[in-house]
Point group: C3
């Protein structure tokens, strides 16, 4: 455990392939523990984890909360939905006050890019990024890698297509960093208005056509369309047109390898970015496995960051 060389989990960008593998390996142990009758260990007994969410989240918050409980830690939830700061107190004062209470980990989600990275150097507690703006969502990428590895043994040489609203997606960004570090070949499939910004030196091939983009891939990662934005007329395309061109169904899937797996970080818009039929098809869809992996991966992260303290 003591070989994990980080105090915080801020993003995938600064992790090495070895770091990532350490998380995935330990998560395997916890995935087993989670299937047993008593899912609880006392590894983090007496620790205090605080979930500080400035954006609403049921799934991620619950996943972290269960992860902490199953390691024996206490958890305090703080939901601050409508403002990034309260009554004139700065964000930094808020988190430093929590730090003064001798908490061990602060799991933070914030609508602005870079918040976890900004606060971490000033905190004694471990800071875990649960999503910062459009930047990163590192634990989701670890969850996705865990799921891919289970099905494909290794990520080395794997062809992975990330499809949909890439431009606004912190999930996409974290996955790009992780997948390239572990030797997978990433490609983007999206209409121009959803295409990702450049990723510096990473030269990600892009496709506007689904059939072309899906040809020969091992893994398809569909992203959520925030169709509430579409409804506001931001995009000159109807949901129905979008679904026709970019919604994944069994027919489009035929271009991929026969043993392709289909992933989605959730929440799903059924029959928008993916058909209900495909999302529920156990032959291809590993969406529920991703959710199950979520708890195990977050247990591994908490353990690696906290158990040596």
């Amino acid at each position: 455990m003591s070989t994990f060389p980080h105090r915080h989990l801020l993003d995938i960008e600064r992790l090495s392939a070895t770091d990532i593998t350490a998380v995935l390996d330990l998560a395997e142990t916890y995935a087993g523990q989670n299937r047993s009758a008593n899912k609880k260990s006392d590894k983090l007994n007496g620790k205090s984890v605080v979930n500080l969410f400035f954006e609403p989240s049921t799934r991620t918050r619950t996943s972290f909360e269960l992860a902490a409980y199953r390691l024996g830690s206490d958890v305090v939830n703080i939901d601050i939905e409508h403002s990034s700061t309260k009554k004139g107190e700065t964000l930094l004062d808020t988190v430093l006050n929590l730090d003064a209470m001798q908490i061990d980990a602060l799991v933070i989600r914030h609508a602005e890019d870079g918040v976890p990275q900004f606060i971490a150097p000033q905190m004694k507690a471990s800071v875990i990024n649960a999503g910062d703006g459009k930047n990163e969502h590192p634990t989701q990428a670890l969850v996705d890698a865990f799921t891919m590895r289970r099905h494909k043994k290794t990520l080395q040489g794997l062809n992975v297509a990330i499809c949909g609203d890439i431009s606004h997606s912190r999930v996409a960004r974290s996955n790009v960093y992780l997948l390239t570090k572990l030797g997978a070949n990433v490609r983007f499939i999206a209409p121009s208005y959803f295409m990702a910004p450049s990723y510096g030196k990473l030269n990600i091939p892009t496709f506007e056509d689904m059939k072309e983009g899906l040809t020969g891939v091992d893994v398809i990662m569909m992203l959520r369309i925030q169709h509430e934005r579409m409804a506001q007329g931001e995009f000159a395309v109807s949901l129905k047109d979008y679904h026709q061109r970019y919604g994944l169904d069994h027919k489009k899937l035929a271009a991929a390898k026969p043993d392709v797996i289909v992933m989605h970080p959730g929440p799903i818009n059924r029959d928008v970015e993916i058909t209900s039929q495909l999302a529920d098809d156990p032959k291809f869809s590993v969406i529920h496995e991703q959710v199950a992996a979520g708890v195990a991966v977050r247990m591994a992260v908490l353990d690696l960051l906290l158990s040596g303290r």
Copy 2:
């Protein structure tokens, strides 16, 4: 414990008299434990209980939460107040995602009838109905039966009057099923606009006159008037008139048996459906005992459903 033949607690309708008695008997044990200095056992150590409330509730949620803690379980609370689904995710996806996190029980309250019954067959976790629309609220009926049994030894042959806003009451429905299964004689007292729908083969006598209806009863169960609806003019009657005809007071109580007990599932509208004086009269009112029984009965339910897993 292993004799309880259900994976879920969805309603009273599908429980047998034996099932009900098993819950009540075990609840007696926990009622004793709750009066001791250390109220906690490790019976459900390592289990994860999720409270998923789509309608606000302080009392029922707190009661389930304390029940789970006192058996050593962890608890995650999810309050979704304003919508039945979130950001386009279906209710079924929400609960299946929680199920994928290897939770052991999902306690769910929802404004629509039949939601727990709909999701249960698809869940690995035990589903516990904490109130579904106007349909059922099974743990409340178990709490009420527990309280009656303590005071009247048996429910067999007991005359029980359910009074007030029966038509909208899931508490009334669950009680009707339970009381008839255990051999009590139920009657309804309500004005026509609050009278219950038919209960199939169960032929429940109805009374519009309180004095007539209360004559000779052993137990009176008052229901909450949602007077916010009255204020909106839905009923052609003022709260004062309603109180005069259907509000329980010591005078109307005289028609019942001398050792009658007065119940209310809460929250009480004092001096609407019941006078403050009577609600607080320890000679008749067992309202606080009902609340105390709530934790013990929910501990019994959680134990019976989860401890064999």
Copy 3:
């Protein structure tokens, strides 16, 4: 432990100097425990603490929650933000229902003065006042005393200036009672529109001029300006003017003793009642120590009230 002669912590007014010292002494033990790797004991194992907050609070609620967890207690949080009562249920019914669930402590914050004192005599659980209107906030005053004692060895003879919006401050009131009981000399510094009401027999010297008021003091306690009220034109003074006259900075500080400490109960309005530079100056500011002390002091309070039960 058994020497603490109170069932509730309602205010500082009814505590003796001996009671206060008992809390502070025990808090020292817990401050040590909180700095260790395993911050958790089983002192209150099996107890149930309920946080019932009718006013929003992140810091105080989190502090009580961590305190309870670190003693092994379970915690249920109930946040009722917008109304003092719900759906017609009286406040008293709400708390008596919680009491019927055999909880051990009710930590309550309410916008109206006197609520904890009103409910306590009717409760079996220990009632802990986490702030009632403009009346008292006893645990904050204990936290402040703990912090002063650490720096100044004793409160006897200490000159303490309380500065700012004293008139609306429950923190000021609790501190006045505590400090005078322990032999400190309290003085107020505030503009007339913020000056405190009389404190009965306690004859508190008042100053309108900062320099005059700060001369020779050992401790300065700055209070939060609710500048949202100022913005509404309630005060004929701008924030900038206020800061100029009453905002604490290094220059005004020169009038105090050289080893003066600067305190603030939070949340801070930086550069309103205190400069950012001074708030962050470790030579004078003990603001983060106050927050850290918060958990230890609340552990001591919970232990003294509950462990003998």
